[in-house]
């Protein structure tokens, strides 16, 4: 019997919400779990999807920047790269993503952070010191609640 409305089919397949497979949506919830929360949490789902899309976009741009930046010694050239500019064009939403990336791997994200934050927490004595500048920005991010 191949009637999807039959009780037998629904019992086998997991009910009206689709198959019994653990298909996940949003932040790791199954669609069935989401439904059980009561009101359809559309805003929550949209925000979760938007965050995930932004994070994926940032990761792909960061990977492109790392893979294709030439052997330049100039921070100006390094940060003029099209993928780097695309990260800056993401706006303030990119700030926590850059900070999390900086916490994982120290790299020359400072120009982007400065542009997006419109601040510069790096003291002049730290200029050029990758580790010290990264720590200055991570501390700035923690103070503003942008890092866990």
């Amino acid at each position: 019997m191949n009637n999807s409305t039959s009780p037998e089919f629904q019992a086998r397949s997991g009910g009206v919400w689709g198959s019994g497979a653990q298909v996940t949506h949003g932040a790791g919830c199954t669609l069935r779990q989401v439904r059980r929360m009561g009101e359809p949490p559309l805003n929550w789902l949209q925000e979760s999807f938007q965050e995930r899309i932004l994070a994926e976009k940032f990761q792909s741009l960061a990977a492109l920047w790392r893979a294709t930046r030439a052997a330049t010694s100039s921070p100006k050239e390094l940060t003029a790269h099209v993928a780097y500019r695309a990260v800056v064009a993401m706006g303030e939403a990119a700030l926590p993503l850059i900070l999390r990336e900086l916490a994982k791997k120290e790299d020359w994200w400072f120009a982007a952070l400065r542009e997006l934050a419109q601040e510069d927490p790096v003291p002049s004595a730290h200029r050029g010191n990758l580790h010290a500048m990264a720590q200055d920005w991570l501390e700035w991010g923690r103070r503003r609640g942008l890092l866990g």
């Binding site: 052997a71 330049t72 921070p75 100006k76 390094l78 020359w108 010191n129 990758l130």
Partner: protein, 147 residues
């Protein structure tokens, strides 16, 4: 190990680098760049840029004059060529499109050493012009200081 074998995307930028005329001498390191390496520093990046170290009172511009002033703060003075002179350490300054792009330092055996970019390896190259090309341009001038 060949720099271009490790970084094949850089091949068009360095048409005069061959496996026979250079070798990689360090792992990749993003903490310093070619100017820092030229003056013997490995904990900081030198450049006339807000994110880099630049000596106080030196114009923040990518001109040869500004770089000569910056390198003079470390004891370098202009000289005429890249020949080997016992007791002296030389630097070659590279220019492309009117802007300084790179510096290489002469080793005591007459070979040269370059930090490739901000984040790649150091290499030793037989001649200073082995890293000339579309990215670094050409050697524009030399400086020297006592070893």
């Amino acid at each position: 190990m060949d720099f271009l074998a490790r970084n094949p995307a850089e091949q068009p930028n360095f048409p005069f680098l061959f496996p026979q005329n250079h070798r990689v001498t360090s792992p990749p390191d993003a903490r310093y760049n070619c100017i820092a390496w030229a003056v013997g520093e490995t904990g900081v990046c030198w450049w006339p840029h807000p994110d880099a170290y630049w000596p106080p009172d030196v114009p923040k511009e990518e001109s040869v004059q500004a770089f000569e002033q910056a390198l003079a703060t470390k004891g370098f003075e202009p000289c005429s060529d890249g020949s080997l002179e016992p007791g002296w350490e030389r630097i070659a300054i590279f220019v492309a499109n009117g802007n300084v792009t790179h510096a290489a330092r002469q080793n005591s055996d007459g070979t040269w050493t370059s930090k490739m970019g901000i984040e790649l390896e150091d290499i030793a190259h037989d001649t200073f012009n082995a890293v000339e090309g579309p990215l670094y341009g050409q050697v524009m001038c030399f400086m020297k200081r006592r070893r």
